[in-house]
Amino acid sequence: MQQPPSSPKPEAPTVTYVVKAGPASAPRTMEVHAAEGDLKPWDLDSKLRVVKGRHPRLDGPLKVTGRAKYTFDVSMPGMLWGKMVRASVPAAEIVKIDTSKAERLPGVKAVWTTEARAVRFAGQDVAAVAAISPEVAEDAARLVEVTYDERPYVTDLQKAMEEGAPTVYNADQVPGSKNAPVKGNVVGPQVPRRGGVRGDVAKGFAEADVTVEATYYVPTHTHSPLETHGVIAKWEGDQLTVWASTQGISTVREGMAEFLGIDRKNVTVITDHMGGGFGSKLAASAEGSNFAGVACKLAQKAGAPVKLMLARDEEHLCTGNAPAALMTVKLGAKKDGTLTAIHHRSFGTAGIAGGAGTGGPSGNLYANTPNCLVEEHDVFTNAGPSAPLRAPGHPQGAFALESAMDELADKLGMDPLDLRRKNESSPVRLIEYEAGAKAIGWERRNKKAGDTAGPRKRGIGMASGNWYVIARGSGVGAEVKVHRDGSVEVFQGSQDIGTGFKTAMAMVVAEELGLTPHDVTVHVGDTRWPQGVGSGGSNTTNSVAPAVRLAAHDARTRLFAIAAPLLGAKPEDLDAAGGKVFVAATPSKSMAFRAAAAKMPNEVVSAVAERKKQYETFRQDLAGAQFAEVEVDTETGNIRVLKVVSANDCGFPINTLTTESQIIGAMIQGVSWALFENRVLDRTVGTMVNPNLEAYKILGAADMFEAVPIVVEVANAGNNTSAAGIGEPPIVPTLAAIANAVYNATGARIHTLPLTPDKVLAHLVRRG
């Protein structure tokens, strides 16, 4: 891929390191510059004892015994229960909100009503109550009477694009349109932030020997984390504490301070354990609801802590979703498969919000293609706003691009994998192609689609995906404390959203101090600790691990200064491993880590560090390729996914065990999206038909396939740990890989997800 330019060289002093970077099979020696005081990145020559290993997560025992306290589990004396009242219609002016009956209900302690009058989606915040039990709060919410002056609405993407469709916003109210043209509900074309315009596509198509063009549709997917959004808000004087189910405790702190008009220093946000977010929990409250602010106000009014957890239906309606998208992809290529042009034109709906672009893969994946044009359009509909979902826009965009690549391969008479190899620009993805093809048995695929005997047909398909190395360069802190008894703690103000971040940080500290991860207690999820990051963009580990390593290294340096005279050596000659501090050249000269700590002059060594900026990296993109095998019952149309292989890179995986778990999880969410998931809005009343977990179907145990994660280690040298992210990239290729496998099995090329049996049968009938 075309490497985005490295960050400009700094004014501040830097240190220069020569590192052996890249994948082990294709190393590259490179120079990296980092802000003064940073450490040499771990690279291919580093002898790592803990990092890259496989360690069960440290909070596992709490989670498997039900002792882990999630926000949903927090309770306190005198706590009240909050419940929101949501708009029951998709478009209206609110005429009246009558809370008198609710207020009269015994046990109701506070009521809130919205000041907004315009309703733009069914599920919008209207009112809220706080009461002595969840049951009474639910009763009270039902007693709130709202009078609406209903307006015309549109919930369907294509209907919203038609001339004369009801408009979600008046022309002067359209959010975030900036310089893009606005016509009715449609904003665009817009060019995405990364990639998107190269050369001249008209020229590229004129030069092509073969072109393909098709239109693809992906429906709205809701994040559906099992723990719904929610908070407990507690005031003590002017001090507010919020326990939140969030991916960004800092964001919640900032959002609550702003909403309530108080100082950030008066707000503490705590997230001990978090029951899933997938991008939907990055906002202060939620993308389509200000419930957390409302809970704080209810707690203020009632003079008691208020717990407000959303119900399952609310989670579908107002906390975000991945936009539905209608995408037209046109590809041009020479006879040998060399791409000459990529044109991606998409119309996506993020409900009442913008940001429904899907052009990331088309704009960045085949970066050698000289001519590329990505045109994105946001289409407003009367539906809840979207939220980032695991590589926002990329699973949808890759479904279109990578389906089109297979259609092109078919037209060229080329092996789909060869077509991708031909146009590949990432040396990492080339390695992943080989590993994935071997693991799936690529040679077993049908040479001609659908060319198998019998009603149950098997097929193999693949697709590529792309993502980016995203990290906070500076402004992230960490504190490592070594106590005189040898016990070690680390404090960090990010949150573990289920990725195993906490355990990864313990591994980084253990690596520096020569301990095991179990020797390190990790404190995260509290805004009182050193500054953290919101967990989005697959950025948590690679933003935070370098700061944690710096703090741990500082503690190590101070302990070595104490141990050196006792071992008759210089501090720089010491090393630490296996719970011991020893002379590197003569390991028999050693002392226990605890014995060294016992000699500390003070009770605690507190090492505090901030992340340093670094100016180069091996690559700024993350690759990824997936291979899928499916079996399609051509009599019922039912698709069974048999096996998915996901080959991914994430720099150095800190903890290979939990890295694999994230890869497996992403491919499962992707298969679930490809086969089942579909938010259905009723066109006749404008409300959601399936706001639950039985009609909004997500993949279950019985649907499970063999999931094979392959981690390609890359010394990316982009920070002192060489870590990058993994949460998002493995969901990017999945939708296309499944659709391509279904095509290989049956010859049915389905352009519309989900791949339900009715669509399979319809395509087979059409094919004859």
Binding site: P61, G500, S661, Q669, A707
Partner: protein, 213 residues
């Protein structure tokens, strides 16, 4: 008209969700301890005010005073601070609230607390502690059969119940046995691995115990 509870008779008052729904709102008060007290089995009316219920949870006698409409799940979570079982879908679709009732896995969001009187309730907290994990719990940790962990208590209880009824399941039987539990992080394959592993560890012990018997 329902009778007030008598002081003798069977321990289980026989209040089902159906009889409760039939009679709810009639207005008779039943304030004596349900379960410790008794009934002759005739239809009885509870509530609408809170009523004391005697529950047997994880081997211990516990009393909760709740409105009769309160589910077993909410009684455990909000009145006994046993928060391992989760309310996820609140309609029996996801298995997040799974507990054992007399050794059988049930969705505790679909049962009224009053209906659990007289039964042995086992929650995930009763299967082991962080210091002393059960074989299933230890296998979950080792295989990394959890990510965010919100569904995990339900899976641990369902897996434990599965192995109690089928100590050596095939992979397909494990999938079927856990098909009532949803996970959004995608831990299924590692859950299967953990259950198979726990089964293998338990099987020799079970065989040895069988020989002794």
């Amino acid at each position: 008209m329902a009778k007030p509870p008598a002081d003798d008779g069977p321990a289980f008052p026989g209040v089902s969700r159906r009889t409760f729904l039939k009679t709810a709102g009639v207005g008779a008060a039943a304030t004596s301890l349900i379960g410790a007290a008794a009934t002759d089995g005739a239809a009885r009316i509870l509530g609408p005010d809170p009523v004391p219920l005697a529950l047997k949870v994880n081997g211990a006698a516990r009393t909760v005073t709740v409105e009769p409409r309160v589910t077993l799940l909410r009684a455990l979570r909000n009145h006994l601070d046993l928060t391992g079982a989760k309310e996820v879908c609140d309609r029996g679709a996801c298995g997040g609230c799974t507990v054992m009732l007399d050794g059988k896995p049930i969705a505790s969001c679909l049962m009224l607390a009053a209906d659990a009187v007289g039964h042995e309730i086992t929650t995930v907290e009763g299967l082991g502690s962080p210091e002393k994990l059960s074989a299933v719990q230890a296998a979950f940790v080792e295989a990394d059969a959890l990510q965010c962990g919100f569904c995990t208590p339900g899976f641990v209880v369902a897996s434990t119940a599965l192995l109690a009824s089928n100590p050596s399941p095939t992979l397909e039987q494990v999938k079927e046995g856990l098909s009532g539990n949803l996970c959004r992080c995608g831990t299924y394959p590692r859950v299967f691995e953990a259950v198979m592993k726990a089964a293998k560890q338990k099987a020799p012990a079970a065989r040895a115990a069988g020989r002794k018997a």
